[in-house]
């Protein structure tokens, strides 16, 4: 057995400071929903951001003032405060798992991921990448990074491969092993550019992960690298 992997501190700092891309932001918000330790760390980072804001030297204001702001509030009818945040544009999710075979994902998805999975729409299917491994792309992807849900059958071994561009993986269900470290639900594994590794899926159950890969990695390219075999460990 091994101790839990450490929280992805550097990525959390990117997120806390507003510097994470949409796909990484989706992965980290899901991770935060699953990890109390990271929530504490993230809160500390935001507090550091607030304290640093306090340290900034004032920039003199030229054309805005408290009264101009209040006038704007009045003009838009916001004189009294609403009791709650206005609804964000989160898609309504009658069935967040639509299009994803329910056998792949047991139980409830963490909240941030539900809307992302919903965005896949009804026609999206898991794409088989090889025996025992499948993936589906999520809408949070942009030109710099891509988000996929990965599914791998328990006991599958992924052939040793080299990463081009960073890959960040959040375990949603099941577990995998990489370099003697076990990654279970809520854990985040980071493979930097150039990492060579060959993770193995834990035998206990099928593994579902959210993976964010930096361009220029294409999933079709990666699929060619994945040769599936069963391995014992």
């Amino acid at each position: 057995m091994s101790a839990s992997p450490p929280p992805p501190e550097s990525l959390l700092l990117d997120y806390a400071a507003g510097n994470a891309g949409p796909a990484t932001a989706l992965l980290l918000s899901t991770h935060l929903a699953m990890s109390k330790e990271s929530r504490g760390l993230f809160a500390l980072m935001e507090a550091a951001g607030g304290a640093l804001l306090d340290e900034l030297d004032d920039e003199p204001l030229e054309r805005i003032s408290a009264s101009s702001a209040l006038q704007r509030a009045e003009a838009s009818g916001d004189v009294s405060m609403p009791a709650t945040w206005p609804a964000r544009q989160a898609p309504q999710s009658p069935d967040p798992r639509k299009g994803v075979p329910s056998t792949f994902i047991e139980g409830e998805l963490p909240k941030p991921l539900k809307s992302a999975v919903h965005e896949i729409g009804g026609d999206r299917r898991w794409r088989k990448l090889g025996y025992g491994v499948a993936a589906t792309r999520l809408a949070a992807s942009d030109e710099r990074e891509r988000a996929h849900l990965l599914w791998a059958r328990g006991g599958t071994g992924i052939a040793t491969h080299r990463h081009v561009g960073r890959e960040v993986v959040l375990v949603l269900q099941g577990a995998f092993w990489d370099s003697g470290q076990r990654f279970g639900p809520g854990d985040v594994a980071v493979c930097e550019d150039g990492t060579v590794h060959g993770p193995s899926i834990d035998r206990s159950e099928d593994c579902v992960c959210l993976a964010v890969t930096e361009a220029p990695v294409h999933f079709t390219g990666l699929a060619g690298l994945i040769l599936n075999r069963f391995c014992r460990f």
């Binding site: 501190e9 550097s10 700092l13 990117d14 400071a17 507003g18 510097n19 949409p22 932001a25 989706l26 980290l28 918000s29 935060l32 929530r39 760390l41 993230f42 809160a43 500390l44 980072m45 935001e46 507090a47 550091a48 951001g49 607030g50 304290a51 640093l52 804001l53 306090d54 340290e55 900034l56 004032d58 920039e59 003199p60 204001l61 030229e62 054309r63 805005i64 408290a66 009264s67 101009s68 702001a69 209040l70 704007r72 509030a73 916001d78 004189v79 009294s80 405060m81 609403p82 709650t84 945040w85 964000r88 544009q89 989160a90 992302a116 949070a140 942009d142 030109e143 960073r166 930097e192």
Partner: protein
């Protein structure tokens, strides 16, 4: 006077001002908060590379959110500065997203970090904030520099490595050490 002491006093005052906005819709309280924070918010946006006039617009937008959502601030879980910082950050993310909107639908609520509770084993928020301020001042320069590049220059940690020429592993360990120090400082309060 010790800056962190001043800050702790400010914090108590800012909490009271937010409460006055919630309870009485106090314009006076809002004005005082505005005069303190809007110039800092402008500085924050300017550091992020936003033009001066637009930086004022965003500062105003942030302060309007403070007015509208003051009831969402909870004194027990943090400082007004932290709360206002998170609003400012989200306003900036929204702004960048609007600029990029033509490139595709980035209308994803998960882009904005959710509000997160400060640790459950909370000691007095006031003391905590004072300690954090003092801890940030005491951080080794190379660690503080990385935090400032993240929060103000809006560089992801990989970009910080590329820009400073430091190995990625060094940047990561400095971030880890900085957070460890801050956490240890706060841990001593318990």
């Amino acid at each position: 006077m010790d800056r962190s002491l001043t800050a702790a006093k400010d914090r108590a005052e800012h909490v009271a001002l937010l409460e006055a906005i919630v309870k009485h819709g106090s314009r006076q309280a809002f004005s005082t908060l505005f005069d303190h924070f809007a110039p800092k918010l402008k500085a924050y946006y300017r550091k992020g590379g936003v033009e001066p006039m637009l930086a004022e617009d965003l500062a105003q937008e942030t302060m309007l959110s403070v007015w509208r959502h003051a009831a969402k601030f909870s004194a027990s879980i943090g400082s007004p500065s932290t709360w206002i910082f998170t609003i400012a950050r989200n306003v900036l993310i929204d702004h960048v997203r609007r600029q990029k909107a033509r490139q595709g639908d980035l209308n994803d609520p998960s882009l904005q970090p959710p509000p997160v509770d400060i640790a459950d084993d909370l000691v007095d928020a006031q003391q905590r904030y004072k300690t954090l301020r003092a801890g940030l001042v005491k951080l080794p320069k190379e660690q503080a520099k990385i935090l400032k590049m993240a929060f103000f220059d809006h560089k992801a940690h990989s970009e910080i490595a590329a820009e400073t020429g430091l190995p990625l592993g060094t940047v990561k360990s400095r971030i880890r050490l900085a957070m460890q120090r801050l956490r240890d400082d706060l841990g001593e309060l318990e």
